[in-house]
């Protein structure tokens, strides 16, 4: 089911529990122009259903700033899905 809308390239980073569950540390992907951070997360949850249980505890970052799920993705963005932080 190829998308007919134009797509943009994004870099996606994975940390902590999300890194372990997906087995990914970083990947480059494409997503339809106009898609939100929430849309991108749902795509990863489809690919890695074991992420679904953690959906409520994740926050997104876009270009190294925390960002709301309805934030639209732009080409070249660096995105991460961050589990609850536990530094210190």
């Amino acid at each position: 089911m190829p998308s007919v809308s134009p797509s943009v390239r994004v870099k996606v980073l994975f940390f902590g529990r999300v890194r372990e569950l997906t087995g990914l540390t970083e990947e480059n992907g494409e997503i339809s122009e106009g898609a939100t951070l929430g849309d991108l997360l749902e795509r990863y949850i489809q690919r890695y259903p074991q992420l679904a249980g953690f959906r409520a505890s994740l926050v997104a970052s876009r270009n190294q700033e925390f960002a709301a799920w309805d934030t639209r993705i732009a080409g070249g963005d660096e995105i991460a899905f961050l589990p609850p932080v536990s530094g210190g």
Binding site: L13, G16, V59, L82, P83, S86, G87
Partner: protein, 155 residues
């Protein structure tokens, strides 16, 4: 947002933390007080004996968030200098994971700023801790960072 003085120090490191060097960094003749916070690996967590910990970070973002905390405490409190270091990788019992030193002319500002800094670091800096026990390992429970930090204007 106020600029962070060039003379502050913010670092993510792999080697052991050197508290004396960080205190020297913030200490100056115009100051009369330094408050430090040293966070290190406790031998137990929720009643289970800890073997060791591993920390990982989203490094450039974590460093940016640490600098942001520094800018906030310079704005809020009459402090002089800040040194804030988080270690990453494996740490054994007793080893320092985070160290914050704040100097100020007077003690109240140094106490307030140091405490605000560590409290905010634990809520907002993208660092993760995995706790290793005799019988397994878990990711520490953690805090969900605010998506739009209250302390920052929406701009």
């Amino acid at each position: 947002m106020p600029t962070t003085p060039e003379s502050d120090l913010y670092e993510l490191i792999q080697a052991a933390v050197d508290p004396a060097a960080l205190v020297r960094h913030v200490r100056a003749g115009q100051d009369g007080a330094i408050v430090t916070f040293d966070g290190f690996v406790r031998n137990e967590s929720h009643g289970r004996a800890t073997k060791y910990l591993e920390y990982e970070a989203y490094e450039p973002m974590a460093l940016a968030k640490m600098r942001e905390i520094g800018a906030q405490i310079h704005e809020r409190y009459a402090i002089h200098r800040v040194a804030m270091v988080h270690r990453l990788g494996r740490m054994d019992i007793g080893e320092t994971s985070v160290f914050i030193a704040v100097s100020a002319p007077h003690r109240a500002a140094a106490f307030d700023a140091c405490r605000f800094a560590i409290d905010t670091l634990k809520r907002t800096v993208p660092i993760w801790k995995k706790e290793y026990f005799q019988d397994g390992a878990i990711w520490a429970e953690g805090k969900i960072p605010p998506t739009a930090p209250k302390t920052k204007p929406a701009s």
